[in-house]
């Protein structure tokens, strides 16, 4: 029965891909080589499908579905965490940031690793010792189960939905940019594949898809770094000397610095690429983002859930150590991926395909393999594209599983049917229904949000996780006086302030500001054009002429964009919450919302009387520290 469903699903995905073929537009992969990309995609999808097919037989109970029966080893879980965590945003995004902005991009990557210190030291093992399937299980242990399950589940659904939307939209755009498949079709293919893995294989299949993806990602990175670094004899200073001396890098820095770069020598421009300040202009913003990363990771439901898949606290520890080795190793080598792309492909060419720099790693792969016309170059590009695709599917699968468990395990079994016995069959059925619902929602949101700028949604997901989930989990585990009042207030205040501050932040679109800027561009255009035209008439050599002609074309292009903006916001004066300009200047709310979240948990606890939370403290504290009962259950 289940196998037939799986077969239907495979046929469905294949049909969607077939439908996609006539709808091809131009992507980074040339038409001539598209078959190669599909071949690599096909091999990877087939292998993950095979794993799902094997896993489907092992999913019999709710524990199998949510946590693979607790039978994942520390090593496996470490790879799966890396696969769950290294989303396309970090894989392609950070390599892109480094390729365009140098040092600042690399500095940004540090926070993603440091986050795991918090997870390792204070979160992973206690959660393994007292948790079962979900984040709310931890909250419900000593607090009122009904109330904390409701707020916990709502927060998990909120965080997962933000993250999921960013992944679906990002994934759709990515697949379109890479191979030119229509946006809607890529969203559907990603959604259907992910549903297949989760629905039939539960956590077992999700774990293996994440492991496969992490192994592919690490392999791709190692190959690229080898190619980039070999010419410099694996010497770090020689490699950086090449970066500093590269004309493309110097040109990019000159472009970023504008007038300030005129007095600098080429050597100074190149060196500037290795110094801070090209991307991050507001230091407070960066600190705020760092806080959201470092504390938010420990509150991400799909990451927390991974610790319930291992049998003991020791294995949970081992899995974080492995994850830190893999994730950290990956981010260290992004400096070679990003800077390698900067010197080999060049910032100008990277921005040509994608203004945000996301195509730096794929284009680098194509370059090191021999370029756009070579078989090896296109094989490499296809491989990196397939890794990016697997990345999206693996992360989305983890997120959907986390959201579905919050709905089925916390809300349905824990709240709606809290007074009745729920049979294992019913639990698995509820989990599967919730999975289909969340999956369908993800596809729907993905299609509805086409063309929206969703980059800040990942940061928002981290901010909510850091401001609501993290204070609640941390304090219920370590603070005796924490209770139901604190958890409920903390979840509400943390979530609402994080979202509220983003709604009034510079992340939103402010039509009046946009229009004023656009009007300024339109007004200044004639003068700019006249000056450039005069320079052009006076210019003698062809290179300068070409440059000036390009600048004149650029002005015309700017005017077109500005006029389009004026037209787009013709009838709008305010942002979606009715503001003319941002009320709150930080792009990431962490700096304010994280302390507020903690404060809410503390005040809520102090002003609420809850005997159960107090009575259960000794039990929780003894168990989270030692693993009494948890370890025994695993041994039997």
């Amino acid at each position: 029965m289940r196998r037939r469903h799986l077969a239907v699903l495979v046929v469905g995905a294949a049909a969607a891909a077939a439908v996609a073929t006539p709808a091809l537009a131009q992507g980074a992969v040339a038409d001539k080589w598209r078959w190669l990309t599909f071949l690599v995609f096909g091999v990877i999808i087939a292998s993950t499908m095979f794993v799902t097919f094997l896993a489907a037989k092992r999913v019999k109970s709710a524990a199998d579905f949510y946590t693979a029966g607790g039978g994942v080893s520390g090593l496996q879980n470490g790879w799966a965490i890396a696969g769950d965590y290294l989303s396309a945003a970090s894989f392609l995004g950070i390599a892109g940031l480094i390729s365009l902005y140098g040092y600042d991009g690399f500095m940004y990557s540090v926070g993603w690793l440091v986050a795991y210190i918090t997870v390792l030291l204070v979160i992973a093992e206690p959660c393994r010792n007292i948790g079962k399937y979900t984040l709310a299980d931890i909250l419900a242990y000593r607090n009122n189960p009904r109330a904390t399950r409701i707020v916990g589940a709502l927060s998990v659904i909120t965080v997962s939905t933000f993250y999921l939307t960013a992944q679906m939209v990002g994934g759709g755009v990515l697949v379109k940019t890479l191979i030119g498949i229509d946006y809607e079709i890529s969203v559907i293919v990603v959604g259907v594949l992910m549903l297949g893995y989760v629905l039939f294989g539960g956590m077992v299949a999700t774990t293996w898809v994440q492991i496969i993806k992490a192994v592919l990602l690490v392999t791709a990175s190692i190959i690229l770094v080898m190619f980039v670094w070999v010419p410099y004899g694996f010497s770090f200073p020689s490699f950086l000397n090449a970066v500093v001396g590269d004309a493309k890098v110097q040109g990019q820095v000159a472009l970023l610095l504008g007038d300030a770069s005129r007095t600098m020598t080429p050597e100074q421009l190149g060196q500037r690429f290795l110094e801070p300040g090209l991307y991050f202009k507001a230091p407070i913003d960066q600190i705020s983002l760092g806080m959201a990363l470092v504390f938010g990771t420990a509150g991400l439901p799909h990451i927390l859930m991974r610790f319930f898949t291992v049998p003991t606290a020791k294995e949970a520890r081992k899995s974080v150590i492995w994850a830190m080795a893999i994730i950290g190793g990956f981010y260290v080598v992004t400096i070679f991926l990003g800077m390698g792309a900067a010197i080999n492909v060049g910032a100008a060419n990277i921005k040509l395909v994608d203004a945000g720099g996301n195509m730096a790693a794929p284009l680098l792969a194509q370059y090191v393999g021999g370029g756009a016309d070579s078989l090896l170059g296109n094989l490499f590009l296809a491989f990196v594209a397939a890794v990016a695709f697997a990345t999206i599917v693996a992360v989305v699968a983890g997120l959907v599983l986390a959201a579905a468990s919050a709905i089925a395990h916390d809300l349905y079994v824990g709240v709606v049917r809290s007074n009745q016995e729920v049979t294992p069959q019913e639990q698995v059925k509820a989990a599967r229904i919730a999975t289909v619902a969340v999956g369908a929602l993800a596809i729907g949101i993905g299609i509805a949000a086409k063309g929206q700028n969703v980059a800040h949604l990942v940061a928002l997901a981290f901010a909510v996780a850091a401001s609501a989930n993290f204070p609640c989990v941390l304090l219920t585990l370590y603070w005796r006086r924490c209770n139901t009042g604190g958890i409920v207030l903390g979840m509400i205040v943390g979530t609402l302030t994080a979202i509220g501050l983003v709604l009034v932040s510079p992340n939103m679109t402010y039509p009046k500001v946009v229009k004023a800027t656009a009007q300024g561009v339109v007004n200044a255009a004639p003068a700019r054009e006249a000056k450039l035209a005069a320079d052009l008439a006076a210019a003698s050599d062809d290179a300068t002429k070409a440059k000036l002609q390009k600048a004149i074309d650029g002005v015309a292009k700017d005017v077109v964009v500005a006029k389009a903006n004026l037209d787009k916001f013709k009838n709008d004066e305010t942002s979606i919450v009715g503001l003319e300009k941002p009320l709150f200047e930080l792009r990431n709310p962490g700096l304010v919302s994280i302390p507020l979240g903690f404060l809410a948990v503390i005040l809520g606890s102090l002003f609420y009387r809850d005997r159960r939370a107090n009575d259960m403290w000794d039990e929780l504290y003894a168990r989270q520290n030692t693993g009494i009962l948890a370890a025994r259950a695993a041994a039997h």
């Binding site: 690399f106 540090v110 440091v114 030291l121 204070v122 009962l629």
Partner: protein, 109 residues
Amino acid sequence: MAQGSTLDWQRIVADPRFQALHRKKTSFLWGLMVFSIVYYFLLPIGAAYFQDIYKIKVWGPVNVGLLFALSEFIVAWGIAFIYSRRANSEFDAMAGELIRDAEKIGGRQ
């Protein structure tokens, strides 16, 4: 979660061995935690307010800023190593003893 009622947790928490484990873990864990957070935030703070120091070249084009950023990775791995060594050798043994004797300390017979 009801299985917890089979043991007298108050007695387990009061046991000197649990208290010893608790004391050792608390100071060790939070000490590492505070150190790692301070060390991490020094990087963006330095990049914002001490750019001149970050620009000093020490090894060819390699400057202080790059070395500091790379050191963040080394420090993170170092903390992971230090913690896991201590936990594997010391905390696990202490917890294991408590798990073994949980019935004896907190049994309700």
